[in-house]
């Protein structure tokens, strides 16, 4: 992406936010096609259309019409995904699987002025660890294909963020057992996520979702740890959820403290403010400035960010925050001594895997 397109993409991502200010654009505007492609990838064609209509982004009549059609295509896809979310939720509920629909379809409805301002790429659903395999089986029985292997049977349910089930139409359902990959996900007491019931109505169906505090924390985790570079829509989610005033900062920070994830919240708030050119929300401003993460939390954050991040390093760093000595031992043993098929696809021998693990563990501790 050109520097100019990146700059304009941030203008679009911040469009309409109070306090969003910008210096002059760095040089000429990018080719409109490039800006449209970025907006599509980032799930913000709705914001681009609004920015064009408001004169914040220059476009001639043909370009404006092109943006509108691309936005309508994005909305058609959003609706197919939303329908998939409803069907998945209905299927799980019918089989007695407690679950929560997460992210895009929920945030678009609860946080944004209009749902069309936030597009998304897939469907995410959280289930309990004990119901994970059953949930995946139900979805694959509907024609989906499970992606990602696991070192040992049951490892994904117990220690990973989850797996992706790809449908025959290419739409994905990510089945989560926690809200983040690596150490921060392992530190979340996931049973608590099912303790604050909330629902949204989609197409007349009540769909269970996370409560406001957990919803905001999940947005922070996704913005801070989810993609590199962070998705602009994810950063805007953080700002929008604070604007809605659904959750009190004291409750958010108390929960983040129990989850050992305050460093993640701090990073999400800083990143969203800096990238979108808005002030850190007043309720968090003083805390963001003075909070210093504990050494383990700081090490876990380092292991989750570039250049360190990666599945292997995050898996090794899981030992940092996983609660309980027995769980840590079982986790380490599962990673060190995976099944032969899993090993054959990776290091090929237990010795080579042990050497690699040692190197990763040293890196995480630094």
């Amino acid at each position: 992406m050109s520097a100019s397109a990146a700059w304009f993409a941030r203008v679009v991502a911040a469009h309409g936010l109070p306090g969003a200010g910008r210096a002059r654009a760095p040089g000429a505007a990018p080719a409109f096609a490039e800006l449209l492609a970025v907006a599509t990838r980032e799930g913000m064609t709705g914001l681009l259309c609004r920015a064009i209509d408001a004169g914040a982004v220059e476009a001639d009549g043909a370009q404006r019409e092109r943006a509108r059609r691309v936005h309508e295509d994005a909305l058609a896809r959003d609706l197919r995904l939303e329908r998939l979310a409803v069907r998945t939720s209905t299927l799980l509920a019918a089989e007695g699987v407690a679950h929560r629909v997460l992210k895009g379809p929920v945030v678009a409805r609860v946080a944004y002025e209009a749902p069309d301002l936030r597009s998304f790429r897939d469907v995410d659903v959280l289930v309990g660890r004990d119901a994970f395999e059953r949930a995946v089986r139900l979805l694959t029985a509907e024609g989906g294909t499970r992606r990602f292997g696991e070192p040992r049977a049951g490892f994904a349910a117990r220690y990973t963020k989850g797996v992706c089930v790809e449908g025959v139409d290419g739409c994905q359902v990510d089945v989560h057992v926690t809200l983040a990959p690596g150490p921060f996900g392992l530190a979340i007491p996931v049973e608590e996520l099912f303790g604050s019931p909330d629902t949204i109505r989609v197409g007349g169906v009540a769909v269970p979702v996370l409560g406001p505090v957990h919803r905001f924390l999940h947005a922070c985790y996704h913005a801070a740890l989810g993609d590199d570079p962070p998705r602009l829509a994810s950063l805007r989610d953080v700002v929008e959820l604070v604007r809605r005033g659904e959750s009190h900062a004291d409750a958010v920070l108390a929960t983040a403290r129990r989850w050992r994830g305050r460093a993640v919240v701090q990073r999400a708030l800083r990143l969203s403010a800096a990238t979108l050119g808005v002030p850190v929300p007043e309720a968090y401003d003083e805390w963001v400035q003075r909070y210093r993460p504990a050494p383990l939390e700081a090490a876990a954050l380092r292991s989750s960010l570039p250049p360190a991040a990666g599945y292997a390093r995050q898996a090794a760093a899981g030992l940092l925050l996983l609660p309980g000595a027995r769980a840590r031992l079982h986790y380490a043993a599962s990673l060190l001594f995976p099944g032969r098929e899993y090993l054959a696809d990776r290091e090929g021998s237990y010795l080579r895997r042990a050497r690699r693990a040692l190197g990763l563990a040293r890196g995480s501790a630094r």
Binding site: G46, R68, H71, L75, A76, L79, A114
Partner: protein
């Protein structure tokens, strides 16, 4: 609601003036400042509505007779019912065919 040979809603007759029509149960909708995008519960594709079709769509948020909606649209536009009737009937047929409008009582029967 009549069903065609392909198992999909058959819009023939749906736009009859005496038909009562409403948004299909379970339809999913996104609204932009210039259009509406709607996806029926079993439809393969979403339908995009603009201009007059949005007006017709909005008029069927609650069950309404096609003839009454044509009269309302005519009043809103300062036109005669005859001038807008064909457009409304055609829009209703299209939206029923797309699975986003549901015929409560079929005026053709």
């Amino acid at each position: 609601m009549p069903v065609g040979d392909d198992g999909r809603p058959d819009p023939r007759g749906a736009g009859e003036h005496d038909s009562t029509v409403v948004h299909a149960p379970g339809v999913l909708v996104r609204r932009t400042p210039w259009s509406v995008v709607a996806l029926g519960p079993d439809a393969p594709e979403a339908v995009v509505l603009r201009d007059g079709a949005v007006e017709v769509w909005d008029a069927f948020a609650t069950p309404a007779r096609v003839a009454d909606v044509a009269a309302r649209v005519a009043t809103a536009r300062g036109a005669t019912v005859a001038a807008v009737s064909g457009e409304v009937v055609e829009a209703v047929r299209r939206l029923v065919g797309a699975g986003v409008l549901h015929v409560v009582t079929d005026g053709a029967r």
